[in-house]
């Protein structure tokens, strides 16, 4: 108890270099608004690693960590492709993963969308031309939206999701 009270009143040392929290919260609220309109209050995402270095996964995991906690804005990462609205694909598609990628996509209920996250998944990475890699996600799946970055930060991924849903609303496909 003593520890907790001391903790509350002790002077906090902060680096003061964090992206403005207000900015992040506003992005989150915009995300929530879009999710409500487009996906009926909840957007279920299945993440699929088709051959990335693991950085994009780390950033996606960070979205669920305390600083971001993206679930409060209506976005959840689901375990099964059968529960997902969106397939979020990271990394260039390797030859060894091609079958698993196609099967995962086939298991999704329609309508569904595919978003490529990171330069490699967008087909822009360093790996093009390698024997082990087929190319970006669009070589194998119909990609609806791309979020580039090496890897994109959690905030960039959130902004990407907003733009993706804006696009859906404009095209009237939802």
């Amino acid at each position: 108890m003593r520890k907790i009270i001391i903790n509350i009143f002790s002077k906090k040392l902060s680096s003061g270099k964090y992206p403005a929290t207000e900015d992040f919260e506003l992005t989150g609220l915009r995300l929530k608004e879009h999710v409500s309109r487009v996906f009926g209050r909840s957007l279920a995402i299945r993440e699929l690693d088709s051959g990335s270095d693991n950085s994009a996964e780390i950033e996606l995991n960070n979205l669920s960590a305390p600083h971001y906690d993206i679930e409060r804005f209506g976005v959840s990462f689901v375990a099964s492709p059968r529960h997902a609205d969106v397939l979020l694909i990271t990394g260039a598609v390797t030859r060894n993963m091609q079958e698993a990628v196609m099967r995962t996509y086939a298991a999704m209920p329609h309508p569904c969308w595919v978003i490529a996250v990171g330069d490699d998944a967008c087909g822009e990475g360093l790996l093009n031309g390698s024997y082990g890699v087929l190319g970006g996600a669009d070589k194998v799946l119909p990609v609806d939206f791309k979020i580039p970055g090496n890897p994109p930060t959690p905030l960039e991924i959130m902004r990407g999701l907003i733009s993706f849903m804006e696009l859906l609303r404009q095209s009237g496909k939802h």
Binding site: K12, S50, N54, H67, N96, E99, A100, T104, L126, L134
Partner: protein
């Protein structure tokens, strides 16, 4: 000049009438050229000296003759980092040393995949990194790129080890897992809840980095090295840079090494904090895990402040650093770390006070000390099983010689030991960063170099263990690049650690290792 092991080996080979030729490499490593009939003899002699680990086998096309040469690297203690035995391959067939050094199996399988080289006596001849999607007789390092696959997918099936008997059944998991995790296949054989056997199948992320690097410039391969494994970007860039610097025969300025050390330890810090959080999540203790997630995110934000990348990318380049870090910023970070280390300790004490967490961690997933040398384990996993070895101390590089820090070693080899080793390493990393910043003086951060041709080995301590790059450069471009991350050997330990544990404990055991799939598959 030579150490006892190398002289001893040469004397032994001489007594068997096997000639050998010694030379010293640019990275301080020793090369010993032996005829192909000397490989097994030499490996047998080295295996008798219990403390030697085989840290890598790779093949390189020979310059002089139109054939392949096999490189066998053994870790040495002072003064040389490694003894590399070179043997010419005749008739595309070499003897397997897997009966002498079990860690050799996967190295030989990998070499066989890439070059089509046969290993006499190799117990497991299945393909390792090339799956069914590749034509059966396709070998990327000798053949050109395969045709794009048609929509008819693979028809052949990989043969897993078979187990039979009453009450024994198999659970296949992966390659696509339920969480946000990298792909890999786990084949459990279980009796009730108890794991009887686990067979791993990795390689799903095989991107062909080695071949991709051939013919590329140093700068391009430096970027490529950062994508070996995202959370080991800095250490891979630094290992590659060290290999290049060894070839060029230069040493980066002092400030460059100081800032590199800060970045490398930041990488270790955020990696370990993530592992600690993950282990706590996997035993169902999110309140205990949250502080670690918060601490880790803060370090990742500092990464971005220092280098512009949350994964420390683009900072470390051959010759030094691509950009300087302001002293004011470093002082702020040092100030931040004061409270930070207190917060880490507080988060750790909340774990120590939870008896049930300790109960789940203790005696779970034991890696016995006898496995460490044969499987060539390294890093926190080996140190949690009583193996007191850290590349930073064993063959020190950069400014690590002058730093005082503790390398924690535990003996129980269970999840708790790995948790404690990683926790103490995180705290010791904070100490290293503090000390390094305190002695950081202004100065140049880059020294230019003129790169011609040559080859060199570089070994660094990554958060996961021993990280090896072997590089051959010709006229300033990369000719051959070999990468062996710590994960490649450490994955072998999981198959042993899970036996006789219950299946629901697998996630926490796996997380306590937290190995890289991408770093293994390359």
């Amino acid at each position: 000049m030579m150490d006892i092991v190398t002289t001893g080996l040469m004397t032994h080979l001489e007594s068997k009438q096997i000639g050998s030729h010694f030379s010293k490499g640019k990275g301080g490593e020793y090369y010993l050229r032996v005829p192909d009939n000397g490989i097994v003899e030499a490996a047998g002699w080295l295996a008798d000296r219990k403390d030697l680990a085989l840290i890598g086998i790779w093949a390189v096309p020979s310059h002089a003759k139109d054939c392949l040469e096999l490189y066998y690297a053994f870790e040495l203690k002072h003064p040389s980092p490694a003894l590399v035995m070179i043997a010419e391959v005749k008739n595309n067939q070499a003897p397997s040393v897997s009966k002498i050094f079990p860690a050799a199996i996967n190295f030989e399988r990998r070499t066989k995949d890439w070059y089509g080289l046969g290993f006499t006596g190799l117990p497991d001849t299945r393909r390792l990194l090339l799956h069914e999607a590749y034509p059966p007789d396709y070998h990327p390092m000798v053949d050109s790129n395969p045709e794009p696959l048609s929509s008819n997918l693979a028809t052949t099936e990989y043969s897993f080890k078979e187990f039979g008997g009453e009450g024994l059944y198999q659970i296949p998991v992966g390659p696509v897992h339920a969480g946000i995790i990298e792909p890999g296949h786990f084949r459990f054989s279980v009796i009730g809840e108890t794991i009887f056997n686990l067979e791993l199948r990795l390689g799903y992320k095989h991107r062909g980095l080695n071949k991709l690097a051939a013919g590329k410039t140093i700068a391009e391969v430096n970027r490529l090295s950062e994508s070996i494994s995202g959370d080991e970007s800095a250490v891979n860039a630094c290992t590659f840079s060290l290999a290049v610097e060894n070839i060029a025969g230069i040493d980066p300025p002092k400030r460059a090494w100081e800032l590199r050390t800060v970045l490398l330890e930041m990488e270790r810090l955020y990696s370990h904090l993530g592992d600690l959080a993950g282990m706590l999540v996997d035993v169902g203790y999110p309140i205990g895990a949250s502080p670690f997630f918060i601490l880790r995110e803060e370090i990742m934000r500092w990464n971005a402040i220092f280098t512009g990348s949350r994964f420390l990318r683009g900072a470390i380049i051959p010759g030094g650093l691509s950009r300087d870090i302001e002293d004011g910023m470093l002082q702020q970070f040092k100030c931040f770390l004061n409270t930070f280390s207190r917060r880490v300790r507080r988060a750790l004490s909340s774990v120590d006070e939870s008896a049930w967490v300790i109960d789940r961690f203790e005696t779970t997933g034991i890696v016995s000390p006898e496995l460490v040398a044969p499987l060539s384990l390294s890093g926190p996993i080996a140190r949690a099983s009583g193996y007191d070895s850290d590349t930073r101390q064993l063959h020190t590089y950069g400014i690590y010689t002058g730093l005082k820090y503790m390398v924690p070693v535990k003996t129980s080899g269970d999840v708790l030991a790995r948790f404690n080793v990683k926790a103490e390493e995180a705290i010791s990393s904070i100490g290293i960063i503090n000390e390094t910043i305190a002695r950081c003086a202004p100065g140049p951060i880059f020294s230019g170099f003129d790169l011609k041709s040559g080859q060199a080995l570089a070994i660094l301590e990554a958060p996961r263990g021993r990280n090896i790059h072997w590089l051959r450069v010709k006229n300033g471009t990369v000719e051959h690049w070999e990468v062996i991350t710590a994960s490649f050997c450490n994955w072998l330990a999981i198959e042993h650690a899970v036996i006789n544990n219950i299946l629901p404990d697998f996630p926490v055991i796996n997380k306590s290792f937290n190995l890289s799939y991408a770093g293994n598959d390359l």
